[in-house]
């Protein structure tokens, strides 16, 4: 194509070249940014984490509804499998299951130590819901257990308690939760999955479950829930995953 067709004057041609160089510089920057799976480096990464905290705030204070319930499914719609993982080298199991207790402590008037039988005597909630993993997969399963709210009613948190730290016996795996998410009617301490006692691959004897959160917030192999006034971290959250993890 004849150049004179497009750019009748020399001046305009030069501006076009400059414009093209600007575009090329921009594209170059963009590809540099994308190169080698750059995570932002020490300059950008802390800012990304600050924005992630802002997004946590929006998720918790603006978008979260304490009463909106996750859709429930018929048990016949269960997925054939629900992947699971643990962070320890070997699958975490209890040497003496009868000695296991859930410790409820921290900023509470009445600390509790609950056996599995104690928990089974408390009010129970069961549902069949869709599980959402941060990786993008989803699966449907049934869960049964004690609403976290039933524990809160019995341990009487102090007025300063704003968060709950859930700890496990899977190495140092833990999760921090805001009180409003913990008090959601579908947030439970599950001792049963798909009508069977919770298996060791899914966090036996007790795990946190809620269809309001991504899977990584649902602490398996529970040993304690500690009420705090400062925001507790968590295994993945401390490595950069969004803290709120609500869906």
């Amino acid at each position: 194509m004849a150049r004179s067709d497009q750019t009748p004057s020399r001046g305009a041609a030069e501006v076009d070249r400059r414009g093209f160089l600007k575009l090329a510089a921009g594209a170059g920057t963009a590809s540099l940014v994308a190169a080698c799976g750059w995570d932002g480096g020490d300059l950008v990464r802390p800012r990304l984490l600050s924005i992630s905290r802002l997004n946590d705030w929006v998720g918790e204070k603006v978008l979260y509804s304490p009463t909106r319930l996750a859709r429930t499914y018929d048990p016949s719609e269960r997925s054939r499998s629900l992947p699971s993982y643990f962070i320890s080298r070997d699958m975490p199991t209890l040497r003496d299951p009868s000695a296991w207790r859930l410790s409820v402590d921290g900023l509470v008037e009445r600390p509790l130590s609950l056996s599995l039988d104690d928990l089974r005597r408390l009010p129970s909630t069961s549902y069949t819901v869709k599980h959402h993993c941060v990786e993008g997969w989803s699966a449907i399963a049934s869960w049964a257990g004690v609403p976290v709210s039933a524990i809160v009613e019995r341990c009487h948190p102090k007025s300063t308690a704003r968060y709950i730290m859930f700890r496990s016996f899977d190495s140092d795996y833990s999760n921090g939760w805001d009180m409003a998410s913990a008090m959601h009617p579908q947030s439970i301490l599950a001792h049963s999955m798909n009508d069977q006692p919770l298996g060791p691959d899914h966090g036996a004897p007790l795990r946190l479950y809620s269809p309001t959160k991504l899977g990584y917030k649902l602490t398996k192999y529970l040993v304690s829930m500690t009420f705090t006034d400062t925001r507790p971290g968590g295994y993945w959250e401390d490595q950069g995953y969004p803290w709120f993890g609500g869906i």
Binding site: M1, A2, S4, D5, Q6, T7, P8, S9, R10, G11, A12, V15, D16, G19, K22, L23, G26, A30, S31, V33, A34, A35, C36, G37, W38, D39, G40, R45, R47, L48, L49, I51, S52, N55, L63, Y64, S65, R68, A70, R71, S79, R80, S81, P83, K130, H132, C133, V134, E135, G136, W137, S138, A139, T212, W236, G240, Y241, P242, G246, I247
Partner: protein, 265 residues
């Protein structure tokens, strides 16, 4: 030598043609017109034409940068689970199932890093999108961009012209009907990209939206495919700029156009 930009107060009139006569006419010879090119009537040096408002230019280039970050971090996120459909259920048709994209087109290093990029960039993406949409409405410029049923015959004429089935370039306004179709589609796609994104981001809080897209996995699926339509659009868009009308690149940077289609101002 650029005249000052049009103030915001005159937004409503900005889609009217503004032709500024060049105070220093170029001594360059009259443009030669190749036989297959449309006859361009007019003076030897085409007039300098006001083409794009600064809001259009700002949001255009900002979106280029933000979208590049969105797509590259999105590809990193996709690597974490590169198929669609519930566990244990059949996969949706997907040429990219199990794909590993080269690290040069992935941003964020790992899933958490990519999520943080993606959820940080969603704010400027939405902001620039809303700013652009507000401008289109406030200026009335949406009229020259929105593809309507009445544009269908013109789109057919234009297609005939491009396929060499028609000699004369159809009469057009700022954009020809095919451009209108492309730009309308890409604005709608931008909206759908944000909405499908929200449907995946908060499938419980926006459960109605997630259901409208056919569920969580279907919303992921549409969110992913919108990317490829964007990529395809961008390739064709850039090609057409350089092949058909390179002067339009300058117009998108400075706002002023001097090229072979001044009457399309």
């Amino acid at each position: 030598m650029h005249p000052p930009g049009i103030p915001l107060s005159s937004l409503r009139r900005s889609n009217t043609l503004t032709i500024v006569t060049d105070p220093t006419p170029s001594a360059a010879p009259a443009p030669t017109v190749s036989p297959e090119a449309p006859a361009v009537p007019g003076p030897p040096a085409p007039p300098l034409v006001r083409r794009h408002h600064w809001i259009v230019r700002l949001t255009h280039w900002a979106t280029v940068v933000v979208l590049a970050g969105m797509i590259t971090s999105g590809l990193q996120i996709y690597e974490a689970y590169s198929r669609f459909g519930n566990r244990g259920a059949p996969s949706f048709p997907n040429a990219f199932e199990g794909a590993h994209f080269p690290s040069t087109v992935r941003l964020g290093h790992w899933l958490a890093g990519a999520l943080n990029w993606h959820f940080a960039l969603m704010w400027p993406l939405i902001t620039f999108g809303l700013l652009y949409a507000t401008y289109l409405v406030a200026s009335g410029e949406w009229r020259s961009l929105l593809f309507r049923p009445s544009d269908v015959p013109g789109a057919i004429d234009m297609t005939k012209y491009y396929l060499r089935l028609r000699k004369e370039h159809p009469v057009q306004g700022k954009h020809n009907p095919l451009q209108k179709l492309a730009y309308t589609t890409v604005v709608v796609l931008g909206g759908l990209a944000v909405l499908t994104g929200l449907a995946i981001y908060k499938p419980l809080q926006f459960s109605w939206l997630t259901a409208a897209f056919g569920g969580f996995q279907a919303a992921r699926y549409w969110h992913f495919w919108i990317v490829w339509i964007f990529v395809g659009f961008s390739i064709v868009h850039v090609l057409l700029v350089f092949v058909v009308d390179p002067a339009s690149l300058r117009a998108m940077i400075t706002g002023w156009y001097r090229g072979r289609f001044p009457s399309h101002g």
